[in-house]
């Protein structure tokens, strides 16, 4: 099943590696990825993943990353946002 996540992260050289490592290790495959630097120098990452597992197994782990300040799971309908701020 496909899931979309929106992450806000602190700008650190290795932060993308951290996110991708957790994603892979927890059993999710990245199918789409876009990152940009915000005006406040934070980073935004839109990531689409594919997995049999429940998305919370990934979003909970991403939320634990120190440099990830916010991780939102975007429901398939994309009508409302499920906010799980750290």
């Amino acid at each position: 099943m496909r899931h979309s996540l929106e992450l806000t992260m602190q700008q650190r050289p290795e932060v993308l590696e951290r996110v991708l490592r957790v994603t892979r290790h927890r059993g999710f495959t990245v199918t789409q990825l876009q990152m940009r630097i915000n005006e406040d120098a934070s980073l935004s990452l839109d990531i689409m993943v594919d997995a049999e597992r429940a998305i919370e197994l990934l979003s909970n782990q991403l939320n634990k990353l120190i440099d990830v300040t916010q991780c939102r799971v975007i429901p398939a309908a994309a009508s409302s946002h499920n906010v799980c701020a750290q």
């Binding site: 490592r21 909970n60 120190i66």
Partner: protein, 552 residues
């Protein structure tokens, strides 16, 4: 103005660090120079893995954050196993590694490896300091992250030029990390489930000790009368003579513990995480039970088992809110009956030394202030089954990672943290050799660590599985060419003796425990005996195998 290296030592002192463990090398020389004559005591290990395990033992025996140093390249890679161990067992640790100078990072310089990259999967968090003004705030953050929430290891990689650069020492202002707080509604829901339950049981993990919630847990048991079981890391959280306490559950758990959990209608999970060694076949673990799951780490809630009520928060606050008298007398009687029916049997006819009986005897002989550190394998499970502990910090065992070679350096760290305590290492002939170089550390400091070496001339646990599940094909588990352990210890000025028969056990334990300095008691145990009971891989916890009638 002081050097970055001097600032590191100042930050350690500011965090109350009095002892660090480590091994010097090229890229960390400025830090070792700053250490020279500093008030922080340094314990030289003989392998960086030993240094980091000593820091783990120090942290686990004291509740403080352990600190270790290593140089770049091989020094740092040698830390990796210990960091992984600390990650899986949630041990607060700050590891500081030297790195080649910033100007040559990325050029494959001598002893350069991407330690930050390597650390990603085996630390709670990690940093590489690339600017001198980031050094002090980064170290402060490292200590805060290591000890807060669910504790864990934090690595700080400091290039040599940063260690040498000058700065003005300023204490940084840090934002206070917010811990999750329990919602009143969730606590109410948990109380309702507890009140409705007819057959509730407490499943207690290492999180209780890490949260400093042992008293709150014991109060909860006193008030509710809840029967209880513990994980390997949870041992010591509940006093062993508590009514309804059934000891360890899981693959090598007691029969009564597993049967009671399988039969319960409510599982109150406190600081535990449904590890596969605990649950056996997950789908059939406590199949009738509703679940209340309490943990500081929200990511553990619902990870493996859906909870009816899940609360992320500080156990010291949640547990008292659940303490209320329960009406579960018939269930308590049933649990007592199970406990009596499946009590350990220490009768073992014959002259050979029966390890479980010896360990029970040792537990009963240990003074109040004692720490038992163990390695990994059969002896580790026997320690968990047959010894008992006053507090979780009195039992050091590599639980999550199951790292052979953990025990000796962890015992060294524990002895440094608690110099007045009797520290006993219970090791096996396989594990002991994995960090045996740390005997030098004992010799160097005359640490009075007592070593109880259980020798069955085998990699016993692997051999047990070969016997049971691999048609007795004993591939590479024979260790009958072990060294003469007593002779080897003597090379490190550690006296000792060897025993082979059951009637020697009592005087030999006495001699070991009353020895002034370090001591090695080498015990040739009955090698026919395995660890029982055992839940076979993939089986449900009620399908425990017992000791077969005929032994090999």
């Amino acid at each position: 103005m002081i050097r970055g290296a001097d600032a590191v030592i100042k930050v350690l002192a500011a965090h109350g660090v009095t002892t660090v463990f480590g091994y010097p090398g090229g890229a960390i020389m400025p830090l070792y120079d700053a250490l020279y004559g500093a008030p922080v005591e340094h314990l030289l290990s003989r392998h960086e893995q030993g240094a980091a395990f000593a820091a783990v033992g120090y942290a686990r025996a004291s509740g403080k954050t352990g600190v270790c140093f290593a140089t770049s390249g091989p020094g740092a890679t040698n830390l990796i196993t210990s960091l992984a161990d600390a990650l899986l067992d949630s041990v607060p640790l700050v590891a500081i590694t030297g790195q080649v100078s910033t100007s040559v990072i990325g050029t494959d310089a001598f002893q350069e490896i991407d330690v930050l990259g390597m650390s990603l999967s085996c630390t709670k968090h990690s940093f590489m300091v690339t600017r001198i003004d980031e050094l002090i705030p980064t170290l402060y953050q490292a200590f805060a992250i290591a000890a807060s929430g669910r504790p864990g290891p934090v690595l700080v990689d400091i290039p040599k030029d940063i260690q040498l650069a000058e700065l003005e020492y300023r204490t940084p202002l840090l934002a206070i990390a917010t811990e999750p707080r329990a919602e009143a509604g969730d606590v109410e829901a948990a109380r309702r489930l507890l009140a409705q339950a007819r057959q509730p049981i407490l499943y207690v993990g290492g999180g209780v000790g890490m949260a400093g919630a042992v008293e709150q847990l014991r109060d909860l048991i006193r008030v509710t009368g809840l029967p209880s079981v513990a994980t390997l890391k949870g041992l010591g959280a509940i006093a062993h003579d508590t009514p309804g306490y059934l000891g360890m559950l899981g693959m090598h758990g007691g029969k009564a513990a597993n049967l009671a959990v399988q039969d319960c209608d409510l599982l109150l999970v406190v600081g535990a995480r449904f590890d596969d060694r605990v649950t056996g076949k997950l789908a059939s673990f406590a199949p009738k039970a509703k679940v209340i799951h309490l943990d500081i780490d929200a990511a553990e809630l619902g990870k493996l088992r859906r909870a009816d009520v899940a609360i992320a928060g500080d156990l010291r606050q949640i547990l008292p809110a659940l303490a209320m008298p329960l009406n579960i007398t018939p269930w308590q009687a049933e649990v007592e009956h199970l406990a009596r029916k499946h009590r350990w049997d220490y009768r073992h006819p014959g002259k050979l030394i029966y390890a479980p009986a010896m360990l029970r005897r040792l537990a009963n002989k240990l003074p109040q202030d004692s720490v038992v550190s163990c390695d990994v394998g059969q002896h580790q499970m026997w320690v968990a089954q047959h010894m008992w502990f006053r507090r979780p910090e009195d039992h050091l065992s590599s639980a999550g990672l199951g790292t052979m070679g953990f025990g000796l350096p962890a015992a060294i760290g524990a002895q440094m943290a608690r110099p007045g305590a009797t520290v006993v290492l219970v090791s096996g002939d396989g594990s002991f050799m994995m960090n045996v170089q740390e005997l030098t550390t004992i010799k160097r400091r005359r640490l009075p660590v007592k070593i109880l070496l259980l020798d069955n001339q085998k990699l016993g646990m692997v051999k047990q599985w070969q016997q049971l599940f691999f048609e007795e094909r004993y591939s590479e588990t024979d260790l009958s060419d072990n060294p003469d352990f007593v002779l080897m210890a003597s090379a490190f000025d550690i006296p000792g003796r060897s025993i082979t028969s059951a009637d020697e056990v009592e005087p030999a334990l006495e001699q070991m425990l009353t020895a002034q300095g370090p001591y090695l008691l080498h015990v040739a145990i009955d090698d026919a005996f395995n660890v029982w009971p055992l839940v076979p891989p993939g089986a449900c916890n009620s399908e425990m195998m017992d000791e077969p009638e005929t032994r090999t």
